[in-house]
Symmetry: C2
Subunit: 277 residues, 2 copies
């Protein structure tokens, strides 16, 4: 798309420097929190309308219907949960699903790293959000030194092949890196700690990843640059502002659904011949 | 609960006659469509608030956290999809899930009838809605004569044992039969047929079940009476009015969540000792 307003935020080249992207950037100019929220609601309603069409098309063609996969990655508190809620807030739970990936269980570790991911990809007509994903397997193990550069590259290649399989079988893949600053993370972690209702979200272990901030940024740079393909593009979403973050991702989802050019499916019978007793 | 306002709609005895329950009944007196919708939104917000607490408790205790299973059964067009959307409309998709059961696939038929159902029951902290369920296996096969009375009874016993397992391991089970009249179904089917945007929901095969209306009502009577246990109670929800149906089921969900007496989980560390660099 020549006139894609989100082009500046797409990962295109083979190099990526997250330090060059400002987490405080506001892609939607002239905005205010209130205006952003109103615009977000419009977008969420549009996501709902398009998701109904997606669902209808999936029911009409279960074997080859269209599918949407939204991958959300980002450091702790970058807003993965909040984004999923904001973007899908108007949708029926019938056709949308969130898959959250935590540290792998014993049975998951006993398989290849894409096994648990493949099991929950969208079916025809479905929107699925990955809250974390297979990308965790080229982040934590890299930062912790559990795998070497060769294995890292192998995994990146496997990821590209896997996503190509999904894309070729009708899945639109939209990948967003929620880019927050270290300062913003500090405020959000502190807020979780201070609020008894939010405290359950805080794990003392969260501070370990924070202590390795630049290692994680670097592992992200490698992973995102290596896997931002034509069929599965990465976007860097400035995420210090929650409303701007939501607005950008909702816009990307609407853009992706519109690009499917969905129409109400045609029935395989002649409605005029049906008589209901 | 002595003062349970929904007692009249609970299936309690061993006999049930659906003909005695008016599908046009309006459990919420003095209501109008507008007032119902406003009240529904309040309830949906309360479901959201309680679901956040449920999610938090599930995260804090993954092995034994609380769970909610809402089973929706009813004839075609009785409003199973619409109910799921209405009740969960304010919830984050992170902690709610809809599992829809269609005619079993080959691999599903190659297992016992509870296999595919067991695979998708709620995990700790989750609300799951069953859009149709294992009850289909004591309806269609009974009406079509594929199984005899002994096998029917065996399946009902298996269902009770299965639901008891779920209940004893922390699952609150709420079962609703969406009770519509044959006339109302006719109108709704016709509406699907007439509206090109809704036509994909119509299958000519839907008319087969309609033609066997009283056989289905009778199979429902047997199944509901046999499986309305203390741990997994059935409710007959008058469903000719969509807004009254939504209101009643949302109220039942709120009632079930409140009965869990959920509190924000206590952290297993002392927040005062944490310092964020």
């Amino acid at each position: 798309m020549a006139s894609d307003p989100f082009k500046p935020w797409r990962v295109d080249g083979s190099k990526l420097r997250l330090g060059d992207v400002d987490p405080r950037a506001r892609p939607f100019a002239g905005s205010s929190r209130e205006r952003d929220d109103a615009r977000l609601l419009e977008l969420a309603n549009e996501v709902d309308r398009l998701q109904d069409l997606l669902h209808a098309n999936g029911q009409a063609d279960p074997a080859k219907g269209p599918k949407l996969l939204l991958v959300l990655q980002g450091m702790d508190t970058s807003g993965k949960d909040g984004t999923a809620r904001a973007v899908l807030t108007r949708c029926s739970p019938l056709g949308v699903r969130v898959a959250a990936f935590k540290a792998p269980s014993e049975i998951e570790r006993a398989h290849d790293f894409l096994w648990r991911v493949h099991a929950v990809v969208p079916r025809s007509g479905e929107i699925v959000v990955f809250n974390r994903s297979h990308y965790e397997d080229v982040l934590v193990p890299v930062v912790e030194g559990w795998i070497d550069a060769r294995e890292q590259q192998r995994r990146l290649d496997h990821i590209n092949a896997f996503e190509e399989l999904l894309a070729q079988t009708g899945t639109t893949i939209l990948k967003c890196f929620l880019h927050i600053s270290r300062d913003e993370q500090k405020e959000r972690l502190q807020a979780r700690l201070d609020d008894p209702a939010k405290r359950w979200k805080f794990q003392p272990g969260d501070l370990d990843a924070r202590a390795k901030w630049s290692d994680y940024q670097s592992a992200y740079e490698t992973a995102l640059a290596a896997t931002s393909t034509k069929s599965a593009r990465w976007h860097i979403v400035p995420a210090d502002s929650k409303s701007q973050r939501n607005l950008m991702i909702a816009s990307l989802v609407v853009q992706a659904l519109r690009a499917m050019k969905l129409e109400p499916p045609k029935p395989d019978f002649d409605p005029a011949t049906i008589h209901i007793e």
